[in-house]
Amino acid sequence: NAGVTQTPKFRVLKTGQSMTLLCAQDMNHEYMYWYRQDPGMGLRLIHYSVGEGTTAKGEVPDGYNVSRLKKQNFLLGLESAAPSQTSVYFCASNPGTGGIANTEAFFGQGTRLTVV
């Protein structure tokens, strides 16, 4: 059971380049999240999804897009990377089906992205 897997683990981009971060979970979870972690800022929610085909904006959505075409995958896209998007990105999932909100989230190992 792999849990939550993020790809890639590290990446360096030049300003203006685009990329997609992939999150895959094998636990049949309904809810998936993308967070960014910056020093002194904690974990800030970028986008989230409450089920296949759905997405919603979090606290810091600007400059990012997401898609949830398959239940097990949640993609985070950067169309034109900026140095301000240098961060560690974490994906998480939890089985929040039918309004069940009391289950803990499971996290991937993170993607360290540097934009130069």
């Binding site: 904690g42 919603a56 979090g58 974490f90 309004g99």
Partner: protein
Amino acid sequence: AQSVAQPEDQVNVAEGNPLTVKCTYSVSGNPYLFWYVQYPNRGLQFLLKYITGDNLVKGSYGFEAEFNKSQTSFHLKKPSALVSDSALYFCAVRTTSGNTPLVFGKGTRLSVIA
């Protein structure tokens, strides 16, 4: 909208002493509350959660947390700290109803000194 405050960026404690990491929250309605720990260059690991019932919740690695509704707090505690407890600790909250996401505090770095 829900929010979490962790008022201390850093907590230092001597090994063997009790530790407390503070968390207060704000939600509309009733909360589900969580504590997570992050070791260097790792993802977040679940420690414990409050759903309902007993206000004192016990979790992994000897940690416990006390839910206080009147003070809207969920402080993390451990009777006797270990050097290996040194890590970054996050409190998180979500509401009990609706498709609301999990919201985190800014984290508290715990340093246990031998």
